[in-house]
Amino acid sequence: MNVESSTVSSSLDAIRAQLAHTRLSTSTFNLVVWIDDPARRDWILERAGMLSEKYPSFTLILDHTGARSGDATVTTAAQDAESIFSVRGERVDIDVAGADAATVAAYVNELCGPGVPTILWWSGMREESRPIFEALLPQVQTLLFDSSGGARDEEAMRKLVAFHKVHPEVELRDLAWMRLRPWQDMIANFFDDPALIGELFSIRRIHIESGSDSEAFYLASWLASRLGWAPTGHDAFTDRKGGRIAFERKRIGDIRRVQSICLDSETSWYHGEVTDDPGVVRVWVEGEHAREPRLFPLQAIDNASLLERAVLETGADDVFETALRFAGALLE
């Protein structure tokens, strides 16, 4: 791929003039990335870069960390070295450290292409960034967040729950939730055997060990939403018959990673535990429905893959939204 970068002033006119040298041949989405945490800047830029290189898209990096020097970089990636018109991706990185909300909103409004969805990846946690966040919201179809991206505690999840209550119309994607898909597959796999489906309705205890809180809340809430349990307090659910399901969690291991899960039914214990290879989980069942240990591959959960899914899976995710509401109830 032929990549060409130019540094210009951060004025909209200068950026537009530079972009006018080329035209996107195909565009599938606009990705707007907000960064205000210097410690996570490189990590986020790398992931956004992987996505913009892979898809014909327009990427706008709004860099509020102060690491840039008041300029903008316009990068175009051509499909082949021969072509000057056939462009596979465009990316603009802008220093917005001193910019107010109206200026940042103007960048998004003026530079993002029409006719394709605009996705905002909001990696910010600072309260002072809130006005900018509010100003960008009306321009985006999908909000991408990571409730366990930067901290182990439940604070980011509380913010997300609060946001969803106020803005239920915004399509939400939480990378912390999306990271759990292989674990959800694994748990579902326990009960694919028709003979074991009934076991789901006699679960009495959930124990989850994870490096950050979002994963535990999401997994438990997902099970609850699928099985008709209601949250009761911070550490329990109630099933349809009024039975109590204890919810226990322990913060252990790497941030953003689940270490183990155990589901206790009335007759059996269902275990999943990461092996020495972090991409493989050992699963086994003890009790009446005992099963020998076997290995379960965790599918790719790298953030570039999650970002891909977030942009490819359009529309509201009602399973996620229900789980988020239940997580909110646990957090109250």
Partner: protein, 520 residues
């Protein structure tokens, strides 16, 4: 909100946790038995496909993979051979520990002849052992990846050894049959008669791996998930349709098989007919297997029979001579290993087909397939009619017909050709192309067809498999041509050079209608 286990359409209790996950229904616990397990297909395609299904968590928790063939292997030797095939051919790279060892525990092997009932008793014991030790629940998928000559024998021995569905009291039994299903109409009917003695139609999965390719599945998406195409998808707007399946390879190591088959049997009767059905069918009433297969069958039924007297007018055949592919000299067909030196087998077939229904009356569908052609290309090209009135364009400007091309391989995507004004003060018109490519459009590569098809057969989803009525009708369509070609030596053979566009007779076929083939 789901509050209890619901039922799937086949009456199985649905797992409420599956909603919203990547696979909404994992296949039942089962054994998959591969007949012809020491063959090339197993090595290059089937075992790598199973491994990737495992990596994608699409295999059930309880499964057994049992190889069956004449070659003498121990379980460990077979596992080692399968690991080698994954290492060499899997799209996800070599098999890694600890997953490989866990996967290998599910693999076993039975050596035996396809006509020896004692060997099938051994197989039955192996499957029953898997049911006990691996929890495979009596469910069995038999995959016939053998030469067609032993299909009947295998099905017969399955029945005699108690492995048929009638004797399976604890689970389901399905049979997956590789193409070709018969070598002509009579043999296909004879095979069907034998298969149907043992398996009901809903238990039979006839593979046409073309149907597992993403772009083939996208034909229906293009037609029925967009509003702009269907209104012009008919005789009012379509001038003609060309379906091409061109290869650069020769017969390679399949000379013995191919010399008794030819392009008409090997490609047109199955792959190309399936493409024809997908592109010409009416919208199905639902997306389930039988609704789609009902519509495909209706199209094939509506294909006008090619009268024996019209075979020479409506078809063309060819056989490649020596030539060059990508600058490298290659031998002629008659010089290939295991091919008769005076062979009359066609390596190129072109057929003009008419569909007698309201949508397609008088629209010709030109089908062609050949080996050792200039490029490897599989595509469907819809050529729309000429403008009713020429308004724009300078004298000498060619106002080309619009053409919509669905590319199946090696490129996967869609291309639309239309006319546009050339920049400048004068009204020059030029034809331009707008391309969509799966790789760059979605940034992901399509999974190999066999992964999709094996997973579907395990789940009991027959949508991408060919039903008997369609197979039989496709044979009925090509039989007059086969009969004629078999009984009339083509003295012009070999009549096209390797690396060319095909025989001149194919060009004449379209020239008679005032049309020409798209360049391969």
């Amino acid at each position: 909100m789901t509050t209890s286990a619901t039922q799937t359409t086949d009456g199985v209790a649905a797992n409420p946790l599956r909603k919203g996950l990547s696979v909404n229904r994992i296949p039942d616990a089962c054994n998959i038995v591969f007949f012809g397990a020491s063959g090339d297909l197993m090595k290059r395609m089937l075992m790598p496909a199973l491994w990737n299904l495992r990596l994608a968590d699409i295999l059930p928790a309880n499964y057994g993979i049992v190889g069956f063939s004449r070659s003498a292997f121990s379980d460990d030797e077979f596992r080692a051979a399968m690991k080698e095939s994954i290492d060499q051919f899997s799209r996800t790279g070599p098999a890694k520990e600890p997953l490989w060892s866990d996967f290998a525990k599910h693999i076993s092997y039975v050596s035996g002849d396809f006509d020896d009932v004692n060997c099938f008793h051994k197989l039955r014991e192996a499957l029953e052992q898997n049911d006990k030790e691996l929890g495979t629940g009596g469910n069995r998928l038999f995959y016939l990846s053998t030469p067609p000559s032993v299909f009947t024998s295998i099905v017969d021995q399955l029945d005699k050894s108690g492995l048929g569905p009638r004797d399976n009291k604890t689970g389901w039994s399905r049979v997956l049959i590789e193409k070709p299903f018969g070598t002509d109409l009579d043999s296909a009917r004879a095979l069907q008669a034998e298969v149907s003695k043992v398996f009901e139609e809903k238990q039979v999965y006839r593979i046409d791996h073309y149907l597992g390719k993403e772009p083939v599945q996208d034909i229906m998406a293009l037609r029925f998930a967009n509003v702009i195409f269907e209104p012009v998808w008919n005789r009012r707007y379509v001038d003609s349709v060309q379906i091409t399946a061109a290869e650069t390879v020769g017969v390679e190591r399949r000379g013995g098989y191919y010399d008794n088959a030819g392009a008409l049997r090997d490609m047109i009767q199955n792959h190309v007919m399936n493409l024809l059905a997908l592109v010409a069918m009416e919208p199905p009433v639902a997306s389930d297997a039988d609704s789609i297969r009902d519509e495909k069958f209706k199209v094939l039924r509506a294909v006008r029979a090619i009268d024996r007297t019209r075979v020479t007018l409506d078809t063309a055949r060819g056989q490649y001579d020596e030539g060059a592919i990508a600058g490298q000299p290659v031998p002629g067909y008659r010089q290939e290993p295991d091919v008769r030196p005076d062979s009359n087998t066609e390596t190129y077939a072109a057929v003009k087909v008419l569909i007698d229904n309201w949508r397609w009356a008088d629209v010709p569908f030109y089908l062609r397939s050949g080996k050792r052609l200039a490029h490897k290309t599989s595509e469907i090209a819809i050529r729309f009619k000429s403008l009713p009135h020429r308004l724009f364009g300078e004298a000498g400007d060619a106002l080309d017909n619009n053409v919509l091309v669905m590319k199946i391989q090696p490129e996967e995507g869609i291309s639309l050709r239309f006319n546009a004004k050339v920049p400048g003060p004068r009204m020059h018109i030029r034809s331009v192309s707008m391309d969509f490519n799966y790789g760059t459009g979605f940034g992901v590569l399509s999974a190999p067809a066999y992964e999709r098809l094996i997973g579907d057969a395990m789940r009991g989803d027959a949508t991408l498999f060919t039903r008997w009525d369609a197979v039989e009708t496709a044979w009925e369509i090509v039989m007059p041509i086969l009969d004629r070609w078999q009984n009339a030596i083509d003295e012009s053979f070999p009549n096209y050079s390797a690396g060319s566009q095909g025989p001149p007779s194919a060009d004449r076929l379209l020239a008679m209608d005032g049309r020409e083939w798209r360049r391969i």
